[in-house]
C-alpha cells in the first residue's frame, strides 16, 4: 500500500515537472513567434519583404535564423482607405514536445500606389 501511494505521488510529481517544462517552452516559443511576426511587419514596412500574400521569406524577414519547424505566412488584403493594406501575419511552430504554438498579428500598412483599398 505504501509503495502504491509513493508511486502515485511520483507520477503526480512527474506530471507537475513536465507541465512546468512545457510552460517554459511555451513562453519561449510564443515570445519568439511574436518577435518574428513583428519583424515580418517591419520588413514589409521598410520595403525589404514583398507586400504580397504567401509564405514569409526567412532571409528577408529575420536577422536571426529561425527554427526549421516555424511556418509563417503573410496575408495581404484591402482596407477602407485607398493605399492602405491590411496585413495579417500567421505563424505556427512546435515546441520540443511537439505541441503546436501559434500567433496572428494584424496591422495596416500605408503603401501609396498599391492595389489595396476599398
Amino acid at each position: 500500500m505504501a509503495l502504491a501511494l509513493v508511486g502515485l505521488a511520483l507520477m503526480l510529481d512527474l506530471g507537475l515537472q513536465a507541465q512546468s517544462r512545457e510552460l517554459e517552452a511555451r513562453v519561449a516559443a510564443e515570445a519568439d513567434l511574436v518577435r518574428r511576426a513583428e519583424a515580418v511587419i517591419e520588413s514589409v514596412r521598410a520595403g525589404v519583404h514583398p507586400l504580397e500574400t504567401g509564405p514569409v521569406d526567412a532571409d528577408l524577414a529575420w536577422p536571426a535564423p529561425a527554427d526549421p519547424r516555424l511556418r509563417m505566412v503573410l496575408v495581404v488584403g484591402g482596407s477602407e482607405v485607398a493605399g492602405v493594406c491590411r496585413l495579417v501575419v500567421r505563424g505556427q511552430t512546435r515546441s520540443r514536445r511537439e505541441r503546436p504554438h501559434g500567433v496572428e498579428l494584424e496591422t495596416l500598412v500605408w503603401r501609396p500606389g498599391s492595389p489595396c483599398g476599398p
Binding site: D13, Q17, E24, V27, A46, W62
Partner: protein, 185 residues
C-alpha cells in the same frame, strides 16, 4: 494442572510485520520521499525561473523605448554595413537626436541638441552584457541586446549561505524596426 505457554495463546492468522519488513518499508519510503521532494523542488524552481523572466519588464521596456525612438526618426546614420556596437543615433525630421550607447554595463539613452551636447541622459537598462545593431536596409534597423538576468533555479538544494545570490544567466533579445518618418509623405 497444565499451564499454557504464552506463545501458544496467540490467535491463529496473520502474525503482523516482522522488524525486517518494517525497516525495508521505511527505507523504501524514505528513498521515494527524497526523490519526490527533489522533483517537486525542481518543478517549483522551473516555475520560479519562468515567473522571474515574465516579471522582469526592464529589457522589454528598454526595447520598446528604443523602438519608439527609431520609429520616429527620419534617419539612423550607419556608415558601414554590418553589425556594430557603436552608438546608435536616431535623427528626427526636426533635427532632434537621440543616441543609444553602451557605457560599461549600462545601456544609456541620451537626448542631444543640434551640436551634439547631451540634454538629458538616463540609463535604460543595467547589467547589459552586449549590444549591437545594424542597418539591414535603408530605413530598417536590427538591434540585438544581451542582458544578465537572475536565475532563481540555481538555488543550491542544501546549505544556502546567508550571502547567497541567484546566479546570473545571459539572455538575448532582438528586434527589427522600420523607420516610420521616412515613409511619410
Amino acid at each position: 494442572m497444565r499451564t499454557v505457554a504464552p506463545r501458544d495463546r496467540r490467535a491463529p492468522g496473520p502474525a503482523g510485520f516482522s522488524l525486517l519488513e518494517v525497516v525495508v518499508t521505511l527505507a523504501v519510503l524514505a528513498v521515494a520521499l527524497a526523490l519526490s521532494g527533489r522533483l517537486v523542488l525542481e518543478s517549483q524552481l522551473g516555475l520560479l525561473r519562468t515567473q522571474a523572466e515574465l516579471a522582469n519588464p526592464l529589457p522589454r521596456y528598454a526595447l520598446t523605448r528604443l523602438r519608439a525612438d527609431v520609429e520616429g526618426a527620419a534617419s539612423v546614420p550607419a556608415i558601414l554595413p554590418g553589425w556594430r556596437s557603436s552608438p546608435l543615433v536616431a535623427i528626427a525630421s526636426d533635427g532632434g537626436r537621440v543616441a543609444w550607447r553602451l557605457s560599461g554595463e549600462e545601456l544609456e539613452r541620451r537626448v542631444l541638441d543640434g551640436a551634439g551636447a547631451t540634454l538629458v541622459r538616463h540609463v535604460a537598462l543595467r547589467e547589459v552584457a552586449g549590444w549591437r545593431w545594424r542597418a539591414a536596409a535603408p530605413g530598417l534597423v536590427d538591434v540585438e541586446l544581451t542582458y544578465r538576468a537572475r536565475d532563481p533555479s540555481g538555488v543550491p538544494l542544501a546549505g544556502v549561505p546567508r550571502t547567497w545570490a541567484p546566479p546570473t544567466v545571459e539572455r538575448s533579445v532582438w528586434a527589427r524596426i522600420a523607420l516610420r518618418a521616412e515613409a511619410l509623405p
